[in-house]
Symmetry: C2
Subunit: 354 residues, 2 copies
Amino acid sequence: MLQSDKFKKIKPHLITRSLKPENQETPIHFLENRQTPSALTYRRNHFNYPPFTNQSYNLTITGSVKTPITFHYNQIISLPSRIVTSVLECSGNKRSYFEPKVYGEQWKDGAISQGTWTGVPLSYLFSKTGIKTGASEVVFQGEDFGVKKGKHVHFERSLPLEKALAGDVVVVWAHNQKPISPKHGFPFRLIVPGWYGMASVKWLKTIRVVDHPFSGPFQTDDYVYYPHKNNNEEAVPVTVSHVNSIIQQPLDRQILQPGQHEIKGLAWTGEGVVISVEVSVDDGGTWKPATLHGQPRQFQWIKWSYSIVFEKNREYSIKVRAYDSNGHLQPDTAFWNRKGYGYNAVSQIKIKVE
Amino acid sequence: MLQSDKFKKIKPHLITRSLKPENQETPIHFLENRQTPSALTYRRNHFNYPPFTNQSYNLTITGSVKTPITFHYNQIISLPSRIVTSVLECSGNKRSYFEPKVYGEQWKDGAISQGTWTGVPLSYLFSKTGIKTGASEVVFQGEDFGVKKGKHVHFERSLPLEKALAGDVVVVWAHNQKPISPKHGFPFRLIVPGWYGMASVKWLKTIRVVDHPFSGPFQTDDYVYYPHKNNNEEAVPVTVSHVNSIIQQPLDRQILQPGQHEIKGLAWTGEGVVISVEVSVDDGGTWKPATLHGQPRQFQWIKWSYSIVFEKNREYSIKVRAYDSNGHLQPDTAFWNRKGYGYNAVSQIKIKVE
């Protein structure tokens, strides 16, 4: 019957954190896909969505280059392309778990998605423009703009020239085998695999090569680790994603039936690959290896699982930690910083068996 | 342009807590409507959605009644109807705020919605069946079923006879001027305004008058306040909704610009009406009255707001408490109970002005 069909549509949704501007999490606990569908890919905006005009189809490379060039969309999509499947994680992901608490979007575990991106390596575009001697950084400007601390600014970020020329930095025009959706940067987006999401500038409009350190509100004010509450000493820029994990199932504070269960989730890292995931069901007293599903691949998360028989009338404190090939592991306590970036403490939940 | 149109669709979504069974919150911070749209009304299920058959159109009243009757849908909708606009709040709403933390669905503020329900007063149906002397309770059985602690059970709840006969208890067949959606109880649902949502049985199938106290897993095990972690002493059944409130805007831990702002939200209570809402911006040191918007109405939430000029470079600890006409007010600390029902401590957020 028709009514029964309606019953079947049980699906997760984006988790709304704010609407002006739009910031919504991926329902990461409830997704199995290797590619997070575009509609459920997390949305992190600093401003309103930018207007779209015919000019938006142009991408300009300028500044300290030998030959400034403006590429049209039709040109870009006909250049040799590269496909990269990559985690994209907001540096504020898990911010709400910091203690003491910090201000800003109170992301839980879902400011992260994995997608497949198609585009032109940035280094290929630079092979057309050339780069002048003395150049040191590349500034990426998005079309999105607004007022930040009283000033009218665009979203702008820079990369060191060396990083910009690494082959894995791509100017993309497709996401999950389709044109990028308007909410995720159509027509062009930068993708910097392995770095937190602020580097992957959406609605990419202008690429400017410069010979001096770039400063801007999203470069030298936000997206900086400030270890102290009341001063800016020992500040360090946010760059590469930390080794990290999530327990997707069971859910925190879930009440379960006794018997066989599977603890499962994802693990990822910005540099190198995840080489092992360990699970503790006694609050960190003892650790056992989880099963990794598939081969670890650079820039991608890996699924892991751990089978266990839960006993009746018990509570379990479950912890999970990932290690990567660079020797990094998730710490017991995250590195606290005033703006709340890079949280990657050991993942933990508690469950009760009745 | 088409692309620009797509940009505009910024909308909140249900907040997924679990999918098996489906439990999703209303995005309560982002809704202005007096009627929560059906699609954004919170979903709280104990089991899978029940199958729908032609038999589902029948509603049977049986047990200690003089004339048992089975009403067909077409009869019910042609009887004298009553319209009630009411808050529906899950007794587990705000459960995640309890300290020490408790097990169960980790609802934040959105296990609450307000809807307009149309149906037949239960007392009218009983005027047709009559009630035998000695009857003491009325048991409402939903079509939804499953295994609970090893037993195959339906969702069933009882009301004291006196409450069941109060004119405001209604067997409804419309929600927000349309047939109830399959996810919210089509074709029939009980609505018990002023009581927590567990009393408002969905997919209502059988109404059974009994002459003894009803016990069942959702009556005498769940939906009971247990004040102690390790024993069931001093247990009290969950019934009427507590006086309560929510701060919709600003959001907790939001970073704001200096200047004029509006703090706003909702307040409600199960018995009587909300008569005042107070706001403190100094962590409870001093309290000022908020403006109430519209006349307080029984069973409905009331909007409130409070204007304030926020000063630059300051943090504010904002608290809100509602009072009702029965002399109840929100406590500083919620009454802790093992299964986490009825949380109604003073609402609070912190914000920072930059």
